[in-house]
């Protein structure tokens, strides 16, 4: 599998980080109504690592995630994924050009994303959901996509639910199908946008278990979450954001056990 190859090759990891964000700003709206959501973010995500982004709501962590795969267009700065500039290209003369939507779609195809509200395609069964992108984007044959989809659904523990429609599945099951759907594109990195926030407490565990398994297989992951336990156990790197800036980052041990910033201490006191 590609993610394992990438993780086990330390030479590649030193070349450049999987994600490099430099001076990223995001402003929504114009003029007097403008909201400055990201105020200069620098972030490096090492290949094969799990980065957990923590922060109070409205701190810009979801927006940052959505900027990584161009669901939001950044206002200033640059984001590189696997060394490739997202959304733009420089020509031979060094002039910056916006990429054609088709090229952006191709960049997104290499980045898996899991949403808070699952967003499974409601008119397709679990199996069809997982097969859709490989068939429609990559042009994989249906037979091949089907075999791979069944494999992925087994990996997330849903072999007995392949012909169910999303409305017939529990939230936890839907989110696991959503993870399988993203994995079907063999992404180089997975983005998780509060994947357990819409779930009943007893269903959170099954989704986190799948994510932990994925992390162990060497997948590069950025996880926006409020699950401090997950951050402590699985994360290699923890980033705490507040008001559009990275306030503190480091290993889970440093950040969660000995927070330097009063804002982080305050946040941890509230969520723990």
């Amino acid at each position: 599998m590609t993610e394992q190859d990438a993780a086990q090759d330390p030479a590649q990891a030193t070349a450049h980080a999987m994600v490099e964000a430099r001076g990223v700003h995001k402003v929504f709206g114009h003029g007097a109504d403008a909201v400055h959501v990201l105020r200069g973010i620098d972030l490096d995500v090492a290949r094969g690592s799990v980065t957990v982004v923590l922060g109070p709501s409205g701190s810009g962590k979801s927006t940052l995630l959505r900027c990584v795969n161009e669901l939001e267009q950044i206002t200033a700065g640059s984001i590189r994924v696997d060394g490739e500039l997202m959304g733009y290209r420089y020509d031979a003369k060094g002039v910056l050009h916006r990429l054609h939507p088709k090229r952006i779609a191709r960049q997104r195809a290499r980045i898996g994303m899991v949403f808070q509200r699952f967003h499974l395609f409601g008119h397709m069964t679990a199996l069809e959901n997982v097969m859709e992108a490989p068939v429609q984007v990559r042009g994989t044959t249906r037979a091949r996509a089907r075999a791979r989809a069944l494999e992925l659904l087994e990996r997330v523990g849903l072999s007995d639910r392949v012909d169910h429609y999303p409305a017939q599945l529990s939230g936890g099951q839907q989110q696991r199908v959503a993870i399988a759907r993203a994995l079907a594109m063999d992404p180089e990195i997975m983005l998780f946008d509060e994947p357990t926030s819409a779930l009943d407490p007893e269903l959170v565990g099954e989704v986190l278990a799948v994510m932990q398994d994925l992390a162990r297989s060497g997948m590069t992951m950025i996880v926006v979450t409020h699950e401090i336990g997950f951050a402590r156990e699985v994360a290699d790197h923890v980033v705490f954001m507040d008001d559009g800036v990275v306030v503190e980052e480091g290993s889970p041990g440093e950040v969660l056990e000995n927070p330097a910033e009063p804002r982080l201490r305050d946040f941890l006191a509230h969520v723990l």
Partner: protein, 329 residues
């Protein structure tokens, strides 16, 4: 009643046995309505003025049946063109391009805002207004020139007139359907690397169809009767004109009106059956998952469906809230 029903894994409780509330009003009102209905049927069937023998004779007349054929061609032809135009118009109205947006708005404003009869008269007069049509550079030289009368016959004028008018109404239905689909669906598709055209075709439109199909069925049934207005073009082969011409010739307009009405009723009934199956097809995966499979338990692709717990609770019609909803927005 006293036998206990056993479920698959446990026994259901003995249900409550109690005398129902007496409701004499129900029986009285039902009896009154039934008597009135019987009187109405009797007044229709036994009245000699309706000439049911003539009705029966002309119901199968070759000119009438041909008229039915033309009416069907006009209905389905114009609806097919209108659906394609409506999807285009709805996409144009949702576009970021101000030119596309305003042209679509103007089109809908114009064709909804003027009477269909006026539009059909206009299309009938097109060869007088524009005697020649040409292909060439806009405002420049012409390469091919046609006589309008050869290109736009009465049939095409009728078809185009009906289609353009209908497209304006359908465009609004399609637009409502497209906006009924959760934006998260397109977002998820975009995150998977799908192109916008593919997202529309594979993800948004199929789900919008659930909202689009019922009013479009309504429009089709309405169009069936609107085709009778093409006499304004004039196009004279469809059902209403054909039957009223016979009625005038044999001095019996009433039986021939009944002939036309019976045919319209029959076609409408068939259309309603078709609509039912279309709605079931596009409803798959929604409404708790039970409706998709229908009573037969097999979906359009031959898959087995089981009614969801939530579907059974919803079918009782006593609750609006979803007690199993796990999403807290």
């Amino acid at each position: 009643m006293s036998t206990q029903q056993a479920a698959s894994d446990h026994e259901l409780p003995e249900p409550i046995h109690a005398r129902p509330v007496p409701r004499p009003g129900r029986w009285v009102s039902a009896a009154v309505v039934l008597v009135l209905a019987a009187m109405a049927v009797n007044a229709l069937v036994t009245n000699p003025n309706f000439r049911w023998d003539t009705v029966w004779l002309y119901l199968r007349d070759v000119v009438v049946v041909r008229g039915v054929g033309w009416t069907l061609v006009l209905t389905f032809g114009s609806m097919a063109i209108a659906v394609v135009l409506a999807i285009l118009l709805a996409i144009m109205r949702r576009s970021d391009n101000p030119v596309m947006k305003s042209v679509a708005w103007f089109w809908i404003w114009f064709f909804r805002g003027t009477p269909i009869y006026t539009q059909l008269v206009f299309w009938g007069l097109i060869s007088v207004l524009y005697p020649r049509l040409s292909l060439g550079v806009p405002f420049g030289p012409e390469f091919f020139v046609f006589d309008t009368r050869d290109v736009i016959t009465a049939f095409w004028a009728a078809l185009v007139g009906l289609a353009l008018n209908e497209s304006a109404y359908l465009a609004e239905i399609v637009r409502a359907g497209l906006s009924s689909v959760d934006p998260g669906q397109s977002e998820a598709a975009r995150a998977l690397g799908m192109k916008e055209s593919k997202i529309l075709r594979r993800v948004v439109l199929p789900q919008a169809m659930r909202v689009i199909v019922p009013p479009t069925g309504n429009e089709t049934i309405s169009m069936l009767k609107t085709t009778s207005l093409v006499v304004a073009v004039p196009f004279t082969l469809e059902l209403t004109y054909a039957t009223s011409a016979i009625g005038a010739r044999i001095y019996q307009p009433i039986p021939l009106l009944i002939v036309a009405a019976l045919w319209y009723l029959l076609i409408t009934s068939v259309l309603m059956v078709g609509q039912h199956y279309l709605e079931r097809h596009y409803g798959r995966g929604f409404d708790g998952g039970a409706t998709a499979g229908g009573r037969g338990g097999r979906g359009p692709f031959g898959r087995r469906r089981r009614p969801g717990k939530q579907a059974l609770i919803g079918a009782a019609g006593t609750t609006k809230d979803d007690p199993f909803l796990e999403v807290t927005p």
